[in-house]
Structure formats: structure tokens, C-alpha cells
Symmetry: C2
């Protein structure tokens, strides 16, 4: 395994791309913009899915599955949503291939098999789902409808990057229907909270909860609630969004319900999603120049045991101790791998597991057997210590929590050090280039000012934070009144 | 809830369609041939997935994810596979929509956004996966490669039926690579065994393990191992297949490995899959004229408690007992629902849960409280008994196993009663129409005879069973020698 990662200092973007590939998370495929998620990357995604799925179910949601395709006439029904996604839609136009008469052994699209109506490969499923909900909702008794779907979606992006922006990606999309506006708003906020809890408690990635400005809002939404994280290079990453859709889709698909009083009213809606993009966020939040750093709660293997030996006799003795340790740690609910392959040397394995970010590595050699000790190495701090038999289990169990907390604290500190309150546009522009990070600044609330800042600096409003910091001031660009500071950053 | 299912006797096919819809398993969507899997149906599918996924992992497989799209040039690389699926491929030809200049508010495919190479929506993933494996396999150390994918696939079927045959369906597809032929054959057989274990132990659906005849083999395979089940109407259903692919895909995609001796050899392959079709099989194996019958191991709710009351005071008392019972059953690992809705009467609830196939229903009323009893009803036998407080928990726990076993036994008996050894083509044709089911008959091994039988009777060879019944005889059609009996049936 050739390691030699480009360092973050040298080229952050190149470091990321190399790391994703070398740590066996994902790779580019033969299909433009589509990735292959490799087993190790997928195992981390499965852990994320399991926790999110549990949290969705605990908040009353059920899973279902809706079609991959959206007929064009349905897709265009909610105009703003259609307009927002039209430019990146993969479109199925035919349903059959045939032998190419001009090229033996080759196939061509059968011109006779043209669809009457083209099918859009879902970029998001509001249209097909609200078409379906029309059949499911008649009365207030049918509400709320709280449904989630795990699915693949396709958005034909021109510039793609593994996990962060791919033509096809995996995600979950929740779609709920409610009798009242306030219930729908509460749901949208609840799911923002669920996402924030997940990213902070499991990914050890702090996020700012906020609301999107008009120009950054989801196409077809009334309000978009977002969670925004800060990567090590000072760029922001939108990690999850939850939309209050008002009655837009209910009106587009004519979904009304009979109230208790017998009146017909349009239904209120939300939708919310996180995707395999979170994998990119996870990598960029914690990893270092030696490779991946995984929080214990999401690591497929939390501990790896590497045997050190020179002959079969030593291997047998070390293996016995390793198997015993593995069994005891597993009994404590820890995911342990014992790498007893004789095809690779210990040094190679040490590099491999550093690259793959396994939180704790335990080495056992003949000397350890003599002394009744183990060598325990932490991936996050790259520190090592030698521990006695009688404390090893409790220590490793404790390390899981300690590493999880430590990663979160480190990320919080990094964010604090890279969040700057600025009072002038000059200061903003200078520090944006020199230091990066989040900039908390006053803004006059207009699209024009936002657009000007974006054009001149590439920074966008990541969110209007949902915190108590509501001091008014003057817009850094126009000097016009501002009700509160908002958060700017360059973003992924 | 209008029940009134068509009976199986009246019209089996109509009964099935109505049941799937009325029990809230799935429904047809706005997209031709694509279904919506509703929350209740999806919850059963999730249970199936969880068990299968566990079994795959226990046999050493890892999950990964490969692209939805297959470029046409890759798709056509393995000719037999391409030929087998070409006629049912959805094809993406464009990547953008635009405003239709002739119809304000409508969209059309942007003629400028035509793909250079068309993309096939995967009908199966051998092509894209073997293209990927070429990069992953260099030496014997990289083998075996044991990977599974949970995904959606699209096959443009002309006649579709919910779960049994849909244009889009959900499935898992395993794709493995091996150094030797015998290892690959062993893998293919192992996965057939895994499928049989799953269908018999979890779905309570007996299957015949066998091998497909030439004409029924998967396009691109050397051998297809199959599990075949018998439905209540005497038609067979192919429930899962596992293919030994030889070196066909390795050759098509030039995937070679260096042996220990340093020679370059083509890799050996398998692929294997089961799909949401199993949902149809589950419905048709056990259900009756009153609705669904679910085996306890796959039932989202294994027990439902229905309160009987006339006033708030009674409701409170009954609820207290119900909650206590629910807690005790849950402590035993049983999935219990307490339906305390005041919007529906007990009779309505009884019907609802019969329709939805919940294995055990417990009713609690004021009289039960007085007597310290519960009324326990079994869905499979439609029997009721009154049980005392002190035996209820053990009894219900025992019922889970008893119902699971009883369903399996009943299905075994049905299959035994509908499996007939026939000695002549006349007998075969007569009994096929009169009685249906599996027919064990001698066949001369030729495609011609198989084709003639299919044309004249619509029965096909479901499999050449992998059992010890190897007595030779004479083909029922040609009188030519036959090495062993094979299994015929009309099939879904």
C-alpha cells in the first residue's frame, strides 16, 4: 500500500481526493460523475443509516418506497421545483435496445421504442410522492402522514467530486403531510434538530442551525432549515436541510383534506434529507495527513489488534492472547478486528489502519506476553501507551467515549477559531482570503447585496442562525439597517 | 375499511391484486409498471432485508454500491447477457430539460443536451461491476471478492403485477470473484442454500432446490441454481437464483489475476439475487380469503391488543391491563401494538388486523378484567381461546414458534398434495389442467422437447432438482432415455 498522501497544507482538495480513494471509501466509475462506494466506505454509510433510521422511527416516521422515475408532466407540476431541477435531469426517452444493423455485435436504441412521455430520473421525489399522497389523504384522520424513503437520486452536475457532489447519490428523503401550518413548521424544525443531534453525537461534527436566505432556499420551499458545518480548510459544508413546503405541492397536486368541521383544506408539507455527502463531511472534519480519522461511534472496526511475531510459536502464543482480548472487548460491545494475516508485516498493517482511521490499535508481541502488557495506540492523537492486562478492557472501553468527545471538542475549537465577527466589508474580504471560516456579519436582507457579495468574494450566506444573538446593526456593504448578523462563508 | 375480498376460489389472480392493495402493501403508481411500496409492505421487506443481510455477512460478504447507469458500450460487452436484457432496457439519452417555447409553463427535453453515449438503467449490474472489478483484482491475494449490493433495477416488462413483475423493483445482487472454478461453484451453491434457509425458516415457504435447464438459465451464466416454490393456485414461483458465471464476464472485461505461481488467469464469477418478488410469494403462500397471513418472524407487529370498552372508566382500566401486558410481551422480544384509537370500533379493528395478517390478536374487555383473562385469537387458524393472566405470556411466546411451524407444515403439505409423478404426456396434460402443481416427469434433455411442452401446455421446466432421486426412465414426450425426473409447472 503506497501511502504518501498529499498533505492538507500542500493541497487540501488533492488531499481529500487521494484520501477517499486510498482509504478505500469510494472511487470514480466508468459513468461520468457517478461513484462506486467501496465496501469500507459503504460500511460507514450503513452505520450512519442505522442511526438515522432509528432516530426517524423514534420520531414516528415509517419507511416506504416510491418510483425512480417521474413522468415529465408530473415533474413540471410544481413550477418552482421543476425550474430548480430542470437543468440537471437525466431523462429516459426509450425502453428498448436492438442489434445495430450497421455494427454486428453492437446495440443501439430502438427508434420504435420511444416513450410517449419522457421519464425524469428523480432528482428529488416531491412530485411523484405528492401525486401518490393525493390518493392517501382524504380526511384529517389521514394526517399527519410521516414517511421517509432511502433511495438513490440523480442530479446531472457538471463538476463532480467523490461524495461531495456526484451525479448519482444515495440519500434519505422524508416527506410529511400535516393538517396545520404550525404542525408542519414544527416537523421541519424537529428534523433539523434530529440532523444536528446525529452529526454532533455520532459524526462528532458541530453544526450551526439556521435558516436559508431566499436565494439559497430549496426550489419549491417556503423556508429551508439547514445545518452548516465548517471543514478544516475553512470552507462551509451544508450537511442537511429540512424544508417547510407550505401548501405549494398540495396545490400543485390538488391534495385537500376534510377538516373535523367538514371543510376542504389544502394540506401542509415538509421534506428533509441528508445524503452520502455526509461521508465527505466526515472525512474532511477529522482526518489528517496520515489518513482517515473516524469517530468510534461510526467506525466499522473500533479496535484492531496487530500481532507481532517472528516464528510460528510466537504467533500461536500472541494469537491466543489476541483472541482472548478480542472476545472480552466484544463482550463489552466493541467492534474488534484481529488482523492475523501472514501476508503483511506489522509496519504495513500499522500504516493501513492509520490510513483507514481505526480509532484504537493494539499491538501484542512476545515481550508483551512476558510482561503482561499491551501497546495501545490512539489514531486521533497518534499517541501510544503500554497498559497492563488488568486495566486494558476498562481503558479501551473508556477510550471509545474519550475519543468521540475529543474529536468533537477539537472540531468545536477549530470552528470557534475560524468564526469571525466582522464590522466592515473590507475586513470581511481581507479575512475571508487570509483566514477563511465563518463570518458573522450584518446584512441588509436584500438579494442584491447577497448577490454582490457572492460575485465579488464567492462567499454566500450559509444561514441566518437560529440563536439568540439578535443584536441589530448596519449592513457591511450598504450600511442599511440589519436586524441581526448572518453567517457567510465560501462553501462546498 | 371495505373488506370484501374476492375469494381465491372465485378468481385467484384478482384475490391477489385486491389483497396487496387492501392490506396496504403496495399500489400502482403514476409511472407505467412501477409500484409504490407502502409503509406496511415496506416494513415486511425491511424484516426480510435484515435477515438476508445478516446471513450474507455471516457468510463473509460485504455490501457496496455501484452506479445506477451502465454506458451502452459496457452493457453490450458480454453478448449473451446483453442480448438477454436488451429488449427491456430503459435508456437515458439526455441530461437536461428546458422551458418549452411552444407551451408556457411546460418543459421539454433540451435537444442540445444529448448524451454522447446512451446510458442503460441497470437491469442487473454484472457489466458495471465487472468493469470495476478489473481495477480491484490483480493477484490471487485480492480473491475471493465477496460483495453484495442492495439496489433498485429496471426491466421494462410489458405485463406487470404488483411485486411479482414490475418495471422497477428492489433487490440485492451478490457478485463474487474467485481464483478457481470449484470455489465459484461452491459459492453459487452456498448462496442457493442461504436463500432456501431464508425462505423456509423465515418466510415459512418450502422450496425445491434445483438447477435450471439451458433455456431457463440466466443470460450470461454457465449454470443457474434456483429455488422454486409452489403457490396455493398450483403455479410455481421462482423465488431466488444463484448463477455460476464461469469466466464469461472476466473475459468480456479482461479481468485476470496472477496466481501464486505467477501465471495470468481469468477470474471465475458468481452472481445471485432475490427481490421484492418475495413479497408476492409470501402473500400467495399463506394468505386466505380474509386477508394476509404473516409468519411471526416477518410480521412487523406479531401481536395486536384491542381494547373493548363502553366508557372512559372502562377504557382506563382496560388500557392499564393492556399496557402492562404489552410491556411484559416486549420484554420477551415480541413486537406488540396496542391499538387504543377511539376513532374505530373493535369490530373494525378485528377486520383490519385480520386483513393485515397480524399473527395474534388479544382482546381485553371489562369482563376479562373481572375474570383475570384475555381473549387470544390466532390469525392462521382463525381460532380463539380465553386464557388466564398467569399463563398468557408463556402461551403467546409459544404461539410465535407454533404459528411459524404450523404455516410451514401447511405449505409443505399443500406442496406434497400438489406434486405428482406422471408417466405419460397425456396424464401430464390432463392433471396439469385439472389439478395443477409440480409435475415430476422424465424428459429427454433436449430444448426441442422442452419447447414443445411449453408451447402446448404453458408448463416449463422449473428445475432439475438437486436431490437423490436419480432413477432413469423414458421421456414422456419422445420416449427417449432420461437420466432423471425433472420438475414441470406453470409458473409466475
Amino acid at each position: 500500500m503506497a501511502k504518501n498522501l498529499t498533505t492538507r497544507e500542500e493541497d487540501y482538495s488533492k488531499w481529500y481526493n487521494e484520501l477517499v480513494i486510498k482509504a478505500d471509501l469510494a472511487e470514480n466509475s466508468a459513468v461520468r460523475g457517478c461513484m462506486v462506494i467501496k465496501p469500507y466506505g459503504y460500511a460507514i454509510w450503513e452505520k450512519m443509516q442505522a442511526e438515522l433510521d432509528r432516530m426517524f422511527k423514534e420520531t414516528g416516521h415509517e419507511n416506504a418506497y416510491f418510483p425512480l422515475f417521474v413522468p415529465k408532466s408530473l415533474f413540471e407540476a410544481e413550477e418552482k421545483n421543476a425550474e430548480g431541477f430542470a437543468k440537471e435531469c437525466a431523462v429516459v426517452t426509450h425502453y428498448r435496445l436492438q442489434n445495430d444493423p450497421d455494427k454486428p455485435g453492437k446495440l443501439r436504441v430502438d427508434p420504435e421504442a420511444k416513450l410517449e412521455e419522457e421519464l425524469v430520473v428523480r432528482p428529488t421525489s416531491e412530485a411523484i410522492i405528492w401525486k401518490t399522497y393525493k390518493g392517501w389523504i382524504q380526511s384529517y384522520r389521514d394526517l399527519p402522514l410521516l414517511i421517509n424513503q432511502w433511495a438513490n437520486v440523480v442530479r446531472w452536475e457538471m463538476r463532480t467530486r467523490l461524495f461531495l457532489r456526484t451525479a448519482e447519490f444515495l440519500w434519505q428523503e422524508g416527506h410529511t403531510a400535516h393538517a396545520t401550518k404550525s404542525e408542519a413548521v414544527t416537523e421541519a424544525k424537529q428534523m433539523q434538530d434530529v440532523y444536528a443531534t446525529f452529526t454532533e453525537n455520532f459524526m462528532a461534527m458541530p453544526v450551526v442551525k439556521g435558516i436559508k436566505s431566499d436565494s439559497e432556499r430549496f426550489a419549491g420551499a417556503e423556508d429551508t432549515y439547514t445545518i452548516e458545518a465548517l471543514m478544516q480548510d475553512g470552507k462551509a459544508l451544508q450537511a442537511g436541510t429540512s424544508h417547510f413546503l407550505g401548501q405549494n405541492f398540495a396545490k400543485a397536486f390538488d391534495v385537500k383534506f376534510a377538516t373535523k368541521e367538514g371543510k376542504q383544506e389544502y394540506v401542509w408539507a415538509t421534506s428533509w434529507g441528508v445524503s452520502t455527502r455526509l461521508m465527505g463531511a466526515l472525512v474532511m472534519t477529522h482526518s489528517d495527513d496520515k489518513g482517515l480519522v473516524l469517530p468510534p461511534k461510526l467506525a466499522p472496526h473500533q479496535v484492531v489488534i496487530v500481532p507481532i511475531y517472528r516464528n510460528d510459536e510466537q504467533f500461536d502464543a500472541v494469537s491466543e492472547a489476541a483472541n482472548k482480548l478480542m472476545k472480552e472487548l466484544r463482550a463489552k460491545g466493541i467492534r474488534v478486528k484481529f488482523d492475523n494475516r501472514d501476508t503483511h508485516k506489522p509496519g504495513w498493517k500499522f500504516n493501513e489502519y492509520e490510513l483507514k482511521g481505526i480509532p484504537v490499535r493494539i499491538a501484542i508481541g512476545p515481550k508483551d506476553l512476558e510482561n503482561g502488557t499491551f501497546e495501545v495506540a490512539r489514531r486521533d492523537t497518534l499517541t501510544k501507551e503500554v497498559l497492563a492486562k488488568d486495566v486494558i478492557i476498562d481503558h479501551v472501553v473508556g477510550l471509545m467515549e474519550e475519543i468521540q468527545t475529543s474529536l468533537f471538542t477539537k472540531a468545536i475549537d477549530h470552528r470557534a477559531a475560524h468564526t469571525t465577527e466582522v464590522e466592515s466589508y473590507e475586513e470581511f474580504k481581507t479575512l475571508l482570503e487570509e483566514k477563511g471560516g465563518f463570518f458573522s456579519a450584518h446584512w441588509d436582507g436584500t438579494n442584491e447585496t447577497e448577490e454582490k457579495i457572492k460575485k465579488e468574494t464567492k462567499a454566500t450566506i450559509r444561514c441566518i442562525p437560529l440563536d439568540d444573538n439578535n443584536t441589530s446593526g448596519k449592513c457591511i456593504v450598504t450600511g442599511n439597517p440589519s436586524a441581526r448578523r448572518v453567517l457567510f462563508a465560501k462553501a462546498y
